[in-house]
């Protein structure tokens, strides 16, 4: 069983919701990332999403764009990101790690070579933002050959037909984009999310994660009421931006934010 599947099963048995923090690898400098990942896990992260820096992050808002730029000053490559995952794995064998990024770095490496590298480093799932299922056959094949989960997005604009199709191709979990917009925008409408998740549940038994626009413990708890997993990205990455001159303070600061969200999420599931 994949680590992602095992983790969601375990959470289901405990009737808890997953918290998935996102950080951009190498932001603001490469040596921050691995200690930060461990701190996030200690603070209550159930899975970790690691952003692969890209020069042209078209689906991201200004906060994550800036994170990519900070990481790319240090030329953080997809190979470097896998090295970070390998280092993280050496002392954490259970927390699932998902890479989130854009297709071109994978395209340039080659799908099979990348899948082998990711598997060997200890990656569990791959979410490629600009790779819709229509184009994904070869990549999915390469990922599955290495038992990596191919994670796909669904959006408010997805038709029922697409929900069914994407549910068939996805594994691990499905990432629902909570609104029409880019990461970090302030447009979250939990009722609308709940309605759409209801439709998606009619198409799949996979766990449903929700991301985009979750900025504080309150919105995390609201989303956790209707979803299986809460993804938090810009709210964390924005704190990194404020600490570029004090990188040693980043793990503790982000861990505190994650811990507060963790508490709010767990509180709502017991009430």
């Amino acid at each position: 069983m994949s680590r992602i599947k095992a983790r969601f099963r375990e959470l289901g048995e405990q009737q808890r919701k997953a918290l998935i923090p996102y950080v951009t690898a190498g932001d603001p400098q490469p040596d921050v990332t691995v200690p930060l990942l461990h701190a996030l896990v200690a603070a209550g992260a159930d899975l970790i999403e690691i952003g692969v820096p890209f020069s042209d992050p078209m689906a991201d808002g200004p906060v994550i764009q800036a994170a990519c730029e900070r990481a790319l000053v240090h030329h953080v490559s997809l190979h470097d990101v896998l090295d970070m995952v390998r280092e993280f794995r050496s002392t954490d064998a259970t927390t699932p790690v998902i890479l989130m990024g854009y297709l071109n770095p994978i395209e340039v490496w080659g799908y099979e070579g990348f899948a082998r590298g990711a598997d060997e480093a200890g990656v569990d799932g791959v979410l490629t933002v600009d790779m819709p299922p229509e184009e994904a056959d070869n990549l999915i094949q390469a990922l599955h050959a290495r038992s990596l989960d191919a994670i796909f997005l669904l959006a408010p604009t997805s038709s029922e037909e697409r929900m069914r199709k994407i549910s068939q191709m996805a594994s691990g979990f499905i990432y629902y984009v909570s609104f029409k917009g880019v990461t970090g925008a302030n447009r979250l409408d939990v009722d609308a999310v709940a309605d759409k998740l209801g439709e998606i549940r009619g198409c799949t038994d996979l766990p449903l994660g929700v991301g985009f626009g979750i900025r504080d413990p309150e919105s995390a708890a609201q989303v956790a009421r209707v979803a299986d997993a809460v993804v938090v990205g810009s709210a964390l990455v924005g704190k990194v931006a404020g600490l570029v001159d004090h990188p040693e303070a980043i793990p503790a600061e982000l861990a505190a934010t994650v811990a507060a969200m963790r508490a709010a999420i767990d509180l709502q599931s017991t009430t």
């Binding site: 890209f54 020069s55 042209d56 992050p57 078209m58 689906a59 808002g61 200004p62 764009q65 800036a66 730029e69 790319l72 030329h75 490559s77 997809l78 190979h79 854009y102 297709l103 071109n104 770095p105 994978i106 395209e107 340039v108 490496w109 933002v129 600009d130 790779m131 819709p132 229509e134 184009e135 796909f152 997005l153 669904l154 959006a155 408010p156 604009t157 997805s158 038709s159 697409r162 994407i166 984009v177 029409k180 917009g181 880019v182 925008a185």
Partner: protein, 409 residues
Amino acid sequence: MEQRKTAEAAALSDALPDERGHFGPYGGRFVAETLMRPLDELNAAYSRYMKDPEFLAEFDSDLRHYVGRPSPLYYAERLSNQIGGARIYLKREDLNHTGAHKINNTVGQALLAKRMGKQRVIAETGAGQHGVASATVAARFGMECVVYMGAEDIRRQAINVYRMRLLGAEVVPVESGSRTLKDALNEALRDWVTNVDNTFYIIGTVAGPHPYPAMVRDFQTVIGREARVQVLEQTGRLPDALVACVGGGSNAIGLFYPFLGDPDVALYGIEAGGDGLETGRHAAPLCAGKSGVLHGNRTYLMEDTDGQIIETHSISAGLDYPGVGPEHAWLKDSGRARYEVVTDSEALAAFHQLTRLEGIMPALESSHALAYTARLAADMDRDSIIVVNLSGRGDKDIQTVADLEGIKV
């Protein structure tokens, strides 16, 4: 053998793209899930209206009475004589309303936006020509218009920025990345994903997710259709070669497309060689790049070994883009078209040459095509015919040229 290969490529290209927007391995639709439905809706509208006689009649009428088509095909006799080889004909897209071929496409897309009930249009622009062409049609149709432009380009192209504002458009400076055209495209895509219900994204070139490469091509093929008729009228035969500059590649596809099935017509696309390919400071993905995925399509890109997109350089802001339309990638691989580079200094020399010999001031983009034409024509005989796409006029570049030559205007 060579001829059969080009004929086969032409027959194939005629049927391209496939229904999901592929030109061989290139093209496609690589966007986040949220944009899949709006792209499906756009594709449905485009497929429907390109077969709708009423739509086509309105498009033709606008091209004639608003844009000023047909644009002339002009025999540049003094230029031809000075070079001393083939006879050179200029397809005068510089004489279109707003001064470039860009308006053909923005008229087409605005008509489509109107039929789709979209009240707001957005566009990306580099040099500002596509931004001006978009602001122009938005003014005419009474639509709200937002143009994204790299902060660096805004600084370089102040006059076009003011022109867009006069036309009622909001020009939004893009401060991310390299602050040029590719970043403006990223920002326009971000706007579209946010305002997708009421907004039509007018892409300015034959790139982006399907159906843009095919749709923009179809709106620009009026250039080649006219040129074909005109060259037959004036010379009694088809040309030996067509030459056009290639940034994203819309003016080149517009000229080439109606000739793809004519194997004896050689096609030359000219990329921006900047300071020279050997310096790495250029914008020539077809000549010096590799295949990759950016801005919704698979194509040749300027990228590093990690797959990051690298900054480009060209004297001409309109060619300063790290990607290229997927159909050009396909035409290159199939061998039907050839792609060459011209450096900044060669383009500048061609700018002066045409200005002084013919009294026509070409855009720096088009000057790349002219510079290569001079090279090509010199090796051909007097009976040979070359048609060059003079895709835009050079007024917008006067400041750039003066600065380069140390002259204060």
